[in-house]
Subunit: 147 residues, 2 copies
DNA sequence: CGTTTTTATATCGTTTACGATGCAAAGATA
DNA sequence: TATCTTTGCATCGTAAACGATATAAAAACG
């Protein structure tokens, strides 16, 4: 069996890639009920935590480039979830704010998502301690690799 | 602090999402040297393990839909990395085979990727045991959520 | 103050992902 | 065997990601 290091089964990266897509897919039915996508949900979580952030703030928080976030926000603005207004002090900045609709989604998300994901993962043999381990290991990878 | 369950920092999903993108980005310089993308690299790993698989085989192995894999293979065929030929017994099937160029990439990948990723992750505090834990936890999530 | 550089965002092109749908070949059934 | 269903793949539309590039405003500098 040649080049064992290259084999798919030994790869952390493929597992991350697969697990990420599967978890995102598990979110999808709940997010459909909210009328949003997973990356849009991430933006909303950032804004629910602190409203009125700039494109850069949001991008840094999500470890994304602004050229990913800008079109995402444009779509969310078109859907009436957020507004974008130029900064007063610094006219280059776009201040992103939740609309009433965007604020209401937090309560609906809170109703649907923890319960829905709990259901979806109820058959998963991982304990709370395992999830904490997992979080720690992922954080180690993230802080090593993030710029 | 309202709705703590929704907070970004508590989310495994965001960590997976971020770690996956960062690791994929870490692969990118090496993969650029091979002239391929990360999903194309995944397809090659599947074919290096066993040449001559169908679109369905590859999609199942990568937990992707065929409507993702088909265009990916079309691009790889255009680049001369693989060929696609209709199955003889079953003319619906496309048999995907490595070209000489696709086979050669395995050696180059073996030269570049383990070393390159080792470098990139050398500052990561995780031990081999941690990576094994991580793999196990990801496998648990994957097998719970995969259809 | 005028010029240069940096910063914040936007635009463009390419490649993934994936839901929805189409289509032809194979298999199942009456 | 004729029809119905399933299977394997392809096509289309939309939304991310992200490299490359553009642009206007702000900051730094001479």
């Amino acid at each position: 069996m040649s080049h064992a290091e290259l084999q798919l089964n030994n790869q952390i990266c493929f597992r991350l890639y697969a697990a990420t897509r599967l978890i995102t897919q598990a979110y999808t039915p709940m997010l459909n009920a909210l009328g949003i996508t997973y990356p849009q949900y991430l933006v909303l979580m950032v804004l629910w935590e602190q409203d009125g952030q700039t494109v850069n703030d949001i991008a840094h928080r999500l470890l994304l480039e602004t050229n990913t976030v800008t079109p995402l926000l444009q779509r969310m603005e078109k859907q009436g979830i957020v507004t974008r207004t130029r900064g007063e002090k610094d006219k280059r900045q776009q201040i992103v704010s939740l609309t009433d609709q965007g604020k209401k989604l937090e309560d609906i998300a809170y109703e649907l998502i923890p319960a829905g994901m709990g259901d979806r993962l109820s058959a998963c043999p991982l304990e709370l301690a395992d999830y904490k381990h997992l979080a720690g290991e992922l954080d180690a990878i993230i802080s090593t690799l993030k710029h």
